[in-house]
């Protein structure tokens, strides 16, 4: 079996949303090895992996639905639930851990009333733990929708979160 042949990078394409997913399904029709590429695109474009789309992926790539679901539940980047408006990724990598990430985690949990992997009821915040985002020099760090917050402490959590409406 040959690999996927796409060489022009997706970042180049200006398609977004469902149109982009459709484009990929067309491009990789009958090619199960593109599964992760396609699922990643769905995750990015739609924020989660809706069931109907996973069924479509299985049909179009010509593979068992079991394999689609198996991969979807294997990788931490995929989620079956719609995400909140803001996604907080708190780094609990080693550097951040030894510099107090656990305390920050506790503060976020307290502030939002959710555990890692959960989303607040008002769908405002989703909270995840990640392991090192390559910013160990300014540990502990967290990102909120990609914005990096350096040297977070348990006391600055509330203030940082209050900036997100």
């Amino acid at each position: 079996m040959a690999g996927t042949t796409c060489t022009c990078n997706c970042s180049v394409s200006n398609l977004t949303g469902e149109a982009k997913i459709e484009h990929l399904l067309e491009l990789y029709k009958g090619n199960p090895s593109a599964l992760i590429v396609v699922l990643s695109a769905i995750q990015t474009e739609l924020g989660y992996l809706p069931k109907d789309w996973m069924v479509r992926v299985a049909e179009e790539l010509n593979m068992p639905l079991t394999d689609v679901y198996g991969a979807a539940t294997f990788y931490a980047a995929f989620s079956m639930q719609p995400k909140g408006k803001y996604t907080i990724n708190l780094c609990v990598g080693t550097a951040c851990y030894v510099k107090g990430a656990p305390e920050v985690q506790a503060a976020i949990e307290k502030e939002l009333g959710i555990k890692p992997g959960e989303t607040t009821e008002d769908r405002k915040f989703s909270f995840n733990l990640v392991h090192c985002i390559g910013a160990c020099g300014i540990a502990p760090v967290m990102t909120i929708n990609g914005d990096v917050c350096p040297k977070v402490t348990k006391d600055t959590v509330a203030e940082i979160l209050s900036k997100y409406e």
Partner: protein, 574 residues
């Protein structure tokens, strides 16, 4: 594109870069201002600094004579955002938006230095330039040679620092076997963890006949606390592309994959831009430099699984499957991606290839110590003053790295131990503070160089808690395929949990040790086989800390939350 055209562009580019290469400006741009755009500085607000700088230069009309560039990581992330001014390698630290106009007014316009933004070491010595700074002085940058020095998205800037010279040399004057022989003779070993001789690996692949072969760059960088691969992919992507292409030529592969961790969006972006530039300039694709050799590379983003750094799992992931490792043999060199011969190397390994080709294997083999040749990039972090990326010759002492480069322990505390090799590694206690950092010595001490995570701990760190931290990580990242790791690490973690809560017993400790040994011995892949290492290593050096938790119901470092009351000694009544 042929070599002639390439060299014409290179010469032009060199002129444009002369101010930075210490040769004095050869064009209109008298000064170059480099704003670090690495992940660390990004997090501390370098984008605003860059924007402000751009705006100010425009407003003052200086944009005609001063070149502004955003680079990859310079290494001193703790000091970020970093701004460098050439000529002179002036290194401004912690530059804020508000500092920009002062730098422009004083330094750029009037050649007056802004001293308050320079680095001062512990002894109060002001160190304005890179070559003066303790942090950089003892480093030797090979893998990181271009990081922080060039615009990572510019094909021309890469050419100016001798980019694609190695590829040109290989394609025009070397046979594939000669390339492999050079890599072998250099003594380069894999920087992804296992330290396997790179040339030997290439040879295996070259020796396997096949209609299709693959070259893979392992950019999954899973060790939580290592970030050199990120820095290289973000700050010098062309060098990886060039090295992979050289390997393709040497081993007979025509297709490459760069598997990059999803958590590194900037690395993915820059790498893709670099790929595009290479294709546009004919350095990827059909008939590269008229040599008849064709090669192309595709980026694959990870999807959040540490185990996908393991080579067979990584290939499963590229194939669109769950990232579960499979038993080896067959090794990738015989049957890898899509069952075809494949060669996989770590980002930092790739980053060493071009200098070796250009400077010769002897040059490289003369750096380092014993069987550990060349340099190693360490991600220095934890309770250290100057956290960041440091590239040092193998064989340098731990103490030198911590004290002289790292500026010692933060907040005036005392060094306790260094944890190397991340979740697969172990710790080096103060008794071995002067140990040499190389593959063999660290292995003797029960740790590993691994991917180069170097976490410094101080007296406030509980070693039991730290070991538990790593085990928590590996347990969560276990793929679940094999019994040993799926259930074994879980049961170990339960015991560690009891111990850190003051609920552990001495039987628990015995069971933990038995489990650790059996998980190491029986797990299918490296993740499980090394998951117990942090525990085994801390038990070797800090058994008393474990016993304090178990018998005295006490965490000596005061980290663990022990609620159990120590049993009052039984009163003996007559």
């Amino acid at each position: 594109m042929n070599t002639e055209v390439l060299n014409i562009i290179r010469e032009q580019s060199k002129k444009a870069l002369a101010a930075r290469l210490g040769e004095g400006s050869q064009d209109n741009f008298q000064k170059h201002v480099l704003v670090c755009g690495g992940t660390g500085c990004h997090s501390s607000g370098c984008q605003k600094v860059y924007d402000k700088m751009e705006e100010t230069l425009k407003a003052t009309g200086l944009d005609e004579s001063i070149k502004l560039i955003q680079t990859g990581c310079m290494g001193a992330c703790q000091l970020g955002p970093v701004v460098m001014v050439y000529p002179g390698e002036y290194h401004y630290c912690h530059v804020g938006e508000d500092d920009v106009s002062e730098i422009v007014e004083k330094h750029l316009k009037n050649d007056e230095l802004v001293e308050r933004l320079f680095y001062t070491n512990n002894d109060g010595e002001l160190q304005p330039t890179m070559s003066e700074m303790d942090f950089y002085r003892r480093q030797q940058k090979i893998a990181l040679r271009n990081c922080g020095k060039i615009d990572p998205t510019s094909f021309e800037e890469y050419l100016a620092v001798d980019g694609f010279k190695a590829l040109e040399k290989v394609l025009t004057s070397m046979k594939p076997q000669e390339v492999i022989d050079v890599i072998k003779a250099s003594g380069l070993r894999g920087r992804g963890g296992a330290g396997f001789p790179t040339g030997v690996k290439w040879q295996f692949m070259a020796d396997n006949e096949s209609d299709e072969k693959y070259v893979i760059c392992n950019g999954d960088e899973g060790d939580p606390g290592a970030f050199m691969d990120n820095a290289i992919l973000t700050g010098d992507p062309f060098s990886i592309i060039e090295a992979m292409t050289i390997c393709g030529y040497a081993t007979g592969a025509t297709k490459g994959y760069a598997y990059i961790r999803l958590e590194y969006p900037l690395a993915i972006k820059n790498f893709r831009l670099a790929l595009e530039a290479c294709r546009k300039n004919g350095l990827l694709g059909e008939n590269i430099l008229d040599s008849g050799f064709s090669f192309d590379i595709e980026v694959r983003e990870g999807a959040g699984a540490f185990v996908c750094g393991e080579e067979t799992a990584l290939m499963a992931s590229i194939e669109g499957k769950r990232g579960e490792p499979r038993p080896r043999p067959p090794f990738p060199a015989a049957s890898g991606l899509y069952g075809k011969p494949s060669n996989i190397n770590n980002v930092e390994t790739w980053a060493n290839v071009c200098p070796i080709i250009l400077n010769g294997p002897e040059w490289y083999a003369n750096i380092g110590v014993g069987k550990s040749k060349g340099t190693k990039v360490f991600a220095l972090a934890g309770k250290i003053v100057n956290a960041g990326l440091v590239e040092v010759p193998m064989g340098i002492s731990l103490k030198e790295v911590v004290e002289e480069i790292g500026g010692g322990i933060a907040d005036g505390k005392a060094f306790k131990a260094a944890q190397t090799g991340g979740p697969s590694g172990g710790c080096i206690p103060i008794d071995y503070y002067e140990t040499s950092l190389d593959y063999e010595t660290l292995a003797e001490l029960g740790s590993i160089v691994g991917s180069g995570g170097l976490i410094i701990t101080d007296e406030d760190t509980c070693m039991v808690d730290l070991a538990k931290f790593y085990l928590t990580f590996t347990q969560e990242e276990s793929c679940g395929k094999c019994t040993s790791c799926r259930i074994g690490t879980k049961r170990m973690l339960e015991i560690m949990d009891r111990i850190t809560k003051g609920l552990g017993t001495e039987e628990d400790l015995a069971l933990l040790e038995e489990l650790a040994y059996i998980v190491q011995q029986t797990a299918l892949c490296g993740l499980g086989q090394t998951a117990p290492n942090p525990i085994v290593s801390t038990l070797q050096y800090y058994r008393d800390e474990y016993l304090a938790h178990i018998i005295d119901k006490e965490c000596p470092a005061g980290v663990c939350d022990i609620k159990v009351k120590k049993k009052a000694a039984k009163k003996i009544t007559a």
